[in-house]
Symmetry: C2
Subunit: 213 residues, 2 copies
DNA sequence: CCCTCCCTAGTCAAACTTGACTACCTATGG
DNA sequence: CCATAGGTAGTCAAGTTTGACTAGGGAGGG
């Protein structure tokens, strides 16, 4: 699963109606150009792709009001909302993923009801543990793990990483169950996009730490 | 950095001389089709690319001895060996990476001298800690971390992940400094490829746990 | 002897990603 | 009043990845 579809769908959805440059700005506001592969080309490509698949509706619009070429505005469709929620659920649940998917999942989790988010995170832990025991049981040869030599270090890395993720997930579950944050249906939804004309406090130039290069 | 170049260079290098299907089999033997993006198309593409860049030398060969289309054999060049070692060093050092790069780095680290491997891993820890403090210092707004709301959980994830990796790296350094494994120049090098005709004990069909789906 | 299945070895189109590039408009300083 | 820097909005070619597909040969069963 690539994070870009989720990010773009989520941005358009929070906006209600947005053109490509707005989405691009939101993702930059979120720092996503640094912790995900959200480059201009990918964003415009994703918008076109999503429109082609009926997840976004494209409005052809007259030349921009603020200079530059004419622009296309997008709105999320019913099918798109379904897909968005499906992607959020998948990102929260599955242990398949890169940092960008996980980060996006957390950013969007408030769009689910609190109970469901907790259930999905518990399922996540279950899958991590399942995977962990598959590693330890399947790969350890008869004669003990020493037989593997340095290759055993790879499994060690996998197990260590899995444990750390399970632990972090557990902490998050506790905080959510303890009443933290405002989930779907509990009040004003959290909106993290830039309004028309609002300036981006995290605009380019500054070096952000999400950047793992 | 994508893991595929490193994996393919490493496989050809251990073989001395190999055609695409052999590389494919080695990667399957290593389980790489499950913990990396090593699909047939990617492997053949990488081989051609590496040959074009002068990192591999391609021998055009007559029709296969065992059925199927004619095949091309590859050998690593001097430039290719340099690039291979550069990639191993980079993979060991940088905190940029996905599981596949890390796993490959461990698999190949014995091709470096012991002292260098330790130095690179220490540098890795230094970079992780640098990144960690960049996250905590840069992203925490005035008014405390509570201001961020659920977005703070993303930074929490990053920090937690960084700490886990630093810890794991530290453990690996200790074991290496304690004399574990046989590094470059210390004796018979470790060879993890299938000989001609040798059967792959991890052949397809079985489900491997590296598969994180 | 023939049919089917599987292994060998690889190709290919479609989708996705990357990074550089274009074109237009506004504000600003000299 | 002019040029020039910078923001707006997006395109494009080149490179990479994916997953399905091809085509030939041998093994084994009936």
């Amino acid at each position: 699963m690539s994070a870009i579809r989720l990010l773009v769908l989520g941005a358009v959805r929070q906006h209600g109606r947005a053109h490509g440059y707005q989405v691009r700005n939101d993702l930059e506001y979120w720092g996503a150009h640094e912790w995900s592969n959200a480059k201009p080309g990918s964003i415009y490509h994703a918008l076109k792709q999503l429109a082609k698949q009926g997840l976004l509706h494209a409005h052809e619009i007259a030349p921009s009001t603020a200079g530059g070429p004419p622009r296309t505005e997008y709105e999320i469709t019913g099918k798109g909302t379904e897909e968005y929620l499906r992607l959020v659920r998948e990102a929260l649940t599955s242990y398949d993923q890169n940092m960008d998917v996980k980060s996006a999942a957390i950013g969007f989790m408030l769009d689910l009801p609190r109970g469901e988010a907790v259930a999905l995170l518990k399922e996540r832990i279950r899958r991590i543990e399942e995977w962990r025991s598959a590693v330890t049981e399947h790969y350890v040869p008869e004669g003990g793990p020493e037989q593997l030599g340095h290759i055993g270090e790879i499994m060690n890395l996998w197990v260590h990483t899995a444990d750390a993720e399970a632990e972090w997930t557990g902490g998050l579950i506790e905080r959510i169950e303890g009443g933290a944050y405002t989930f779907a249906g509990e009040g004003e939804p959290f909106v993290g996009v830039l309004a028309e004309g609002e300036e981006n406090p995290y605009a380019t130039g500054e070096r952000h730490p999400g950047d793992a290069r």
